[in-house]
Symmetry: C2
Subunit: 380 residues, 2 copies
């Protein structure tokens, strides 16, 4: 018996959301589907493709829902994610960071043999040489994107000349196929002001456009120009360069993205759909209670979780170690109950979800399904 298997007995029972054993990760399906409809409908209206990033959810069921909603494929940050999603029936995957070293390249080729159009990025001549040799010996074709540093300074070639050198190497090898370029502007995603976000992100896209132009001028293919994210999807679309957008957090939103998913008119495109349920387990002190969710239930890399339902609307989360948190009770005006439920908007969705093995999916107040998070984990 565990919390998840104990909760599985509640599936389909009306009001079961209030009875979930805690801590647990809860996906509000109505909000999730509304986010899917909003983002994919927006993209369809503008004839821009979406290639959602699976690093956010690591969940095959969500990946399938994104494909059904019209996505052209899914992004994965790491090979391990792509392997797990492939094991669960997904294809059309793109690896958005380099695959380096013998062990990982062996795994890459095994995966490439299973998928129709696996695509990956490269930003280093030595990496390209090891990929080329391995693919040639295995008799495989690789589909490659050149990763371009557009200002995040984490990955990517830093000049059009570096991109051209990689493209020339690809052109010279029958095992390598240049599909286009990637430029991910991570540094723009969380800028809260719409106009500042637009300006900084368009500057980044200008760098990417320079590399695209250089490649085309040198007669290299550049069919795919991929990048963007939930924070900048709308401002990036207006630039007219990207062929697909790597939106990820839009399915869930979180405390960070709740501040940046505004349109130019100040309207929220997506709404929080992912929550942690936690209960009061001790109440010996005045002014706060102890709840059963700490740093093993919330990622502590960003803002604090925000209460969306609990003893009193103003309650704040406080850190109380690995397994526990504190919820402030100023002004609650009554004794808080042992077991009282607190519901929290997740602080940063990707690493918080990564702490859990399952998603408890609710429709209104009823638990309707439990989805496994198949690609969870730190493994590369």
């Amino acid at each position: 018996m565990s919390a998840t298997s104990s909760n599985a007995t509640l599936i389909g029972i009306k009001g079961s959301r209030q009875r979930l054993d805690t801590p647990c990760l809860v996906l509000d399906l109505d909000m999730f589907e509304s986010n899917l409809a909003a983002m994919h409908g927006w993209a369809r209206d503008r004839c821009i493709a979406l290639r959602p990033h699976a690093k956010t959810h690591k969940c095959a069921t969500i990946g399938k829902r994104q494909m059904e909603a019209g996505a052209i494929g899914l992004c994965c940050a790491k090979l391990g994610e792509a392997e797990a999603l492939t094991d669960h029936g997904l294809e059309h995957l793109m690896l958005t960071s380099p695959v380096t070293g013998r062990a990982k390249i062996d795994r890459l080729l095994a995966l490439n043999a299973r998928l129709p159009d696996l695509t990956l990025v490269v930003d280093d001549p030595e990496n390209l040489a090891e990929l080329e040799a391995a693919a040639r010996i295995a008799g495989q074709q690789l589909r490659l994107l050149i990763d371009v540093d557009v200002g995040t300074h984490r990955f990517g070639v830093i000049s059009p000349d570096q991109a051209l050198a990689l493209a020339d190497t690809m052109a010279a090898s029958p095992a390598l196929n240049l599909m286009g370029i990637q430029g991910y502007a991570g540094h723009c995603q969380a800028i809260t002001d719409y106009h500042e976000r637009l300006e900084v992100s368009h500057r980044a896209l200008g760098v990417l456009a320079g590399v695209r132009d250089a490649l085309i001028e040198a007669d290299h293919a550049c069919d795919i120009v991929t990048g963007s994210g939930t924070g900048t999807h709308d401002v990036d679309q207006t630039f007219g360069l990207l062929t697909d957008l790597q939106v990820g957090s839009y399915v869930f939103s979180d405390v960070t993205y709740d501040r940046v998913t505004m349109t130019a008119d100040g309207e929220r495109r997506v709404q929080p759909a992912l929550f942690v349920h936690s209960r009061v387990v001790s109440r010996c002190q005045k002014g706060y209670a102890t709840i059963d969710a700490g740093s093993k239930s919330f990622s502590m890399d960003g803002p604090m979780p925000i209460l969306v339902d609990g003893p009193t609307p103003g309650s704040e989360y406080g850190r109380f170690g690995d397994e526990f948190g504190r919820v402030s009770l100023e002004g609650v005006g009554r004794d808080v109950a042992l077991g009282e439920l607190t519901t929290w908007m997740v602080p940063h969705c990707d690493p918080t979800l990564n702490l859990y093995d399952t998603l408890h999916c609710v429709r209104g107040d009823t638990l309707v399904e439990i989805w496994p998070i198949e690609a969870r984990g730190a493994a590369g």
Copy 2:
């Protein structure tokens, strides 16, 4: 295929530690065994029992090694941990935080029926009443400790009178057995100065002694007086009150504990044994490289990881998102290699380990075993 199963092919191969697919969690068995010997030897010499906290490692194999080293039992922070460890052959478990609510109490009774001496804490009369009713109806006996707030203000009764009221309730029920008291001084564990740590921790133990005396004076049993942790184990032992010490982090140490596990003479009792291996995956920038371990590989709730082996001794870790980090390369004086290995002391061992599914156990430079982390997860 995944990183773990890819690494499994390296078991027993000399030098395989250098070839591990990354990111991965590495346990240096020589250091781990030296920590076990140091702490259990120290306790044996002083005739004090150890009841190590399994929340640190969540690993049945480590729990068994602790029992073989002389531990009288293991602590668990949550019911889910105790269930997983019981499934893998451990017994003599103590739950160090309250078990509240119908769903969890049902699971508690199922576990209690499987274990010879499961013990749990209580700090609330209402919780005690629900435990009593459930145990009576199930025809079971519960072994209980009264949790006492000694200054951490997270759990525990705040006066001897509250403890006496709980003890009286227990005395009146044939289903409940008072075994003693617990007082965990979480606020003292990370005080770096030895003498300050001693002073603050002894003040906390003074509070616990007051409750013990009140119980004994009222003819209640108080056979177990449990508490302490790796940070205060030595200063607490000298106080002469505790019957067993809940040391946890001593098996691994980490950046935080590396500063506080000094004896009075400034000697380290335990040494870092737990590391994250991560490799360079991109090197397009001057002054640093990108490595494959981010906030899904290191807990970000405390200090940064510290480099113990890598391109240059002075290299520092920098945050670079969920999947990646940056390692500074000032003064390295050469091109860093793609795939170059960086080895990091874990910043905070408990929540970092909780990100991983397996421990890669090395002896010197050779991977010798891979241990599953059976109780990993956020579930309660």
